[in-house]
């Protein structure tokens, strides 16, 4: 409005060359863009980085406008790759399968399929991050062409070089108006990452401070250890649970999501190795594993990893004096149960004594109620010629705790008995 006024009224004497409005606007924009960053752990970005580094096709599921593109920009910086964003919904299938170009004599030379310019530039650079955004709003034929690009890494006659990494993004099925859905075989080829926004991050970011994620670095000296760990983790679980190797999704809700198959377990193996080599947290690993094989098998794998971390019962029995037991009650209980089971498997007086020493140690360093069941079971393993070790006296407190719980149980039984008697 004011710009128009100035033009319309040139006769008004201008006060000493006023700053043009657009320059003032530029100043305001500069102020608005003047934001700082702060380091903040970001598990979903870390998971994405590892999956992309492992060269697995990633599918980000997330509502539009929650910062997927911003995340990809950070990822490109972290991996030092130029970022190419392709909005799938504004392209035609031939943009991905190649545009036919007529030569002199099509009958003899054929019709070559020419790739689009961005693909040519990507191939020429030899490396880059290709982000296929809005997969779900593209028509089915475009989606089909894109999937070939993601899975076979081909655009027309061009083969993408190994240095190019691809990430795709889609809206969740329930919010997508036109029902993007992966068939189970296709879904099985992707690592599915759910992209959500963190309320706190958004509010703080709009206030001027955006997070700066510290991204994982693979440690060269840990590579072989990482591969070994990943193989043990996956093979250990699948050897014990053969049913988990291959399970097609059974119902409507889980179609189009992650499900276990030898292929997705192989992806899981890579992901565990990458997360281990980068020293990533279990949170990150959880996103990756569940994104590859689905929630159920993923959680089961993670639970078995927790058990892999527990100290070996034989090591503990060999040197009970310097044993270090886990702090968390449920894990500690699992260790003590394991120790008692090991003694039961090979009952010898020295092992039995060592187990008692471990229970005493557990009592000194943690909650006493955890010790009750292992102590009872261990006592029952006593053989006739074995003398009771002195350590048992130190467990007197456990016995009184157990009796106290017994008395409570008796009172409950009595109260319920009295109650039902009164009711009649």
């Amino acid at each position: 409005m004011s710009i128009g006024m100035r033009c319309a009224a040139p006769e008004t004497p201008a006060t000493a060359s006023p700053t043009p409005q657009l320059d003032i606007a530029a100043d305001l924009l500069t102020l608005l863009r003047d934001t700082t960053t702060e380091p903040r752990p970001d598990t979903q970005l870390e998971a994405l980085t590892l999956a992309v580094a492992a060269d697995l096709p990633v599918l980000l599921w997330g509502e539009p406008g929650i910062g997927k593109t911003a995340a990809l920009t950070q990822l490109a910086t972290a991996l030092d790759l130029p970022l190419t964003t392709v909005i799938a919904s504004v392209h035609e299938p031939s943009d991905f399968s190649g545009l036919p170009v007529i030569g002199d004599d099509p009958a003899t030379h054929g019709v070559p399929m020419a790739p689009p310019d961005w693909a040519v530039r990507l191939v020429r650079a030899g490396r880059g991050l290709l982000f296929l955004d809005e997969l779900s709003t593209a028509p089915p034929a475009v989606q089909a062409a894109l999937l070939r690009l993601v899975l076979e890494r081909r655009i027309g006659a061009l083969q993408l070089p190994p240095g190019v990494r691809i990430v795709a993004a889609a809206n969740p099925r329930s919010s997508a108006a036109d029902g993007w859905e992966l068939s189970p075989p296709l879904a099985n080829r992707f690592v599915h990452l759910q992209w959500t926004h963190d309320h706190e991050v958004v509010v703080r970011g709009l206030g001027g401070t955006w997070p700066r994620a510290t991204l994982p670095l693979l440690a060269p000296e840990r590579l072989s250890e990482a591969v070994d760990f990943a193989r043990r983790a996956v093979c250990g679980l699948l050897a014990a649970r053969p049913k988990l190797v291959h399970q097609l999704p059974g119902n409507e809700t889980r179609r189009g999501g992650a499900w276990p198959s030898p292929r997705s377990w192989d992806m899981t193996l890579s992901l565990i190795a990458f997360a281990t080599a980068a020293g990533s947290s279990r949170e990150v690993l959880s996103l990756l594993v569940r994104g590859a094989v689905g929630d159920g098998p993923g959680l089961e794998l993670l639970a078995s990893l927790d058990r892999m971390d527990l100290p070996d019962p034989e090591t503990l029995l060999a040197d009970p004096a310097s044993a270090v037991l886990p702090q968390r009650g449920d894990l500690r209980q699992a260790v003590l149960d394991g120790v008692v089971a090991a003694v039961r498997g090979r009952p010898e007086k020295s092992r039995w004594d060592a187990a008692w020493a471990l229970l005493v140690r557990a009592l000194e360093t943690g909650a006493p109620d955890l010790v009750v069941v292992p102590a009872t079971t261990l006592a029952a393993l006593r053989q006739e010629n074995w003398d009771v070790p002195e350590a048992i006296e130190q467990l007197a407190g456990v016995v009184s705790l157990s009796r106290r719980a017994d008395r409570a149980a008796d009172r409950v039984a009595g109260r319920i008995g009295a109650g039902s008697a009164g009711g009649r």
Binding site: A176, N251, R282, A303
Partner: protein
């Protein structure tokens, strides 16, 4: 061990109570042992935070008998297992609720969900524990259902002291140790504990009461509302290749001008034709049918269908007249007796032009066509009355054939359970 002095937390008593709780509810042992007790003088009784710490008032432990403390242990761990903090946050976000009054209401609703089947069978009812009956509410419902049923008022006045911590209602308290304090469980560890408990219950379902079995079945796969599922099925059927917006060689592309001699496909829009077959055999209530029909039409409109392209076909043993949707309000849903949907299919497919999607709303007690019809088929399945038909909720660990579901629709149809 017995270094207890009055005024400090009597850990022996607290742990004896936990032991009693574990003996009474062995399937909760992992969760009970994973809780880390923290002495606190700010909590009225016991409370949990979302990081699986359990804050305990020393004076509460002093004045409460062991058997009642055991009940409180189970109560508090139930808040965490049932993810009441996450569900409270989601409920608050969806309904735009703010303020501590609303959080108190969530705590009360969560307590109602737990307490109606938490006690008895070896555990006594702790004094003052909220029961749904005391608020005039039915038992056996979920926290979200209770939240829609009561307001804070005179009969909840006595509960205003209630405080189970942020683990119950999602609202952080200043006396809590927070995410970076000692002995907290990370999100992945919390999931792992919940998963172990669910796995234990699913493995030996006979030992746990019904409420816990339902929890274990749905802990990691909450069932989606049928509207969403039906919507997804119809949407995906109606936007499959050949239907809706897609490329066709029927007309040259606008790019063709630049490439003389080359035939390029062009983008064409062809709205899907949806035919809805309604089973009117009498076992499905009109209200249910009405809401499902509304849902289907809303969805077909959302995918670009026009009202005149949606037709409705009532069907029992013989197919009725095909009605265009514009007269849906007046369609006589008459019938009764036996159903044979095969006639409905035949009639729907005889229409010209042929429908792209057939949606069948039925209770499933019907013969089905032997061969796959030449279009996508979505079946909305109503629960059968008078027969106990288990909803086929399959957890990922089970074999597909573990549970027998009689008269199931054929494999070529996509089935959504309604209601």
């Amino acid at each position: 061990m017995n270094a207890y002095a009055p005024g400090t937390l009597d850990l022996d008593k607290l742990f004896a109570a936990r032991l009693h709780a574990v003996r009474a509810r062995p399937y909760l042992a992992t969760a009970l042992f994973a809780l880390h007790p923290v002495e606190s003088r700010q909590v009225p009784t016991m409370a949990v935070d979302r990081h699986w710490r359990c804050y305990v008032s020393p004076s509460f432990v002093d004045r409460t008998p062991v058997e009642e403390l055991a009940g409180v242990w189970v109560h508090e761990v139930s808040h965490l297992l049932r993810d009441h903090h996450g569900r409270s946050d989601r409920f608050a976000r969806e309904h735009g609720l703010t303020g501590s009054g609303e959080r108190l209401r969530m705590n009360i609703a969560a307590d109602c969900e737990i307490n109606d089947d938490a006690f008895g069978d070896g555990l006594v009812h702790p004094e003052g524990a909220v029961e749904p009956e005391a608020l005039g509410l039915p038992t056996g419902e979920l926290m979200e259902e209770y939240l829609r049923r009561f307001r804070l008022g005179p009969n909840t006045l006595s509960l205003s002291w209630l405080d189970c911590g942020s683990g119950a209602d999602g609202l952080g308290r200043e006396w809590e140790l927070g995410p970076n304090g000692a002995h907290g469980l990370s999100e992945q560890e919390r999931d792992a504990v919940r998963f172990r408990v669910a796995q234990g219950i699913n493995g030996r379902p006979g030992n746990a009461p019904k409420g816990w079995r339902r929890w274990a079945e749905e802990a990691f796969h909450p069932p989606l509302p049928w509207r969403e599922l039906l919507g997804a099925a119809v949407r995906s059927a109606a936007s499959d290749s050949g239907v809706g917006e897609d490329y066709t060689y029927g007309r040259p592309s606008r790019r063709s001008a630049g490439l003389p001699g080359v035939v390029l496909p062009s983008l064409r829009r062809r709205p899907p034709r949806v035919s809805v077959i309604i089973d009117t055999s009498g076992s499905v209530s009109d209200a249910e049918l009405g809401s499902a029909l509304l849902e289907v039409t809303a969805i077909s409109r959302a995918v670009g269908g026009r009202r005149d392209l949606v037709t409705v076909l009532p069907c029992d043993a013989s197919a009725g007249i095909v009605h265009p949707l514009c007269r849906a309000e007046g369609i006589p849903l008459m019938g009764g007796g036996g159903t044979d949907l095969r006639t409905g299919f035949a009639k729907a497919l005889r229409a010209s032009p042929r429908p792209d999607v057939v949606v069948v709303l039925t209770d499933g007690q019907t013969p089905w066509p032997d061969t796959r019809p030449p279009c996508r088929t979505v079946v909305g399945l109503f629960p059968r009355q008078h027969t106990l038909r288990r909803r086929p909720v399959r957890s990922w660990g089970e074999d597909e054939d573990d549970r027998y579901v009689p008269d199931s629709p054929p494999a070529w149809a996509r089935v959504v359970d309604i209601g």
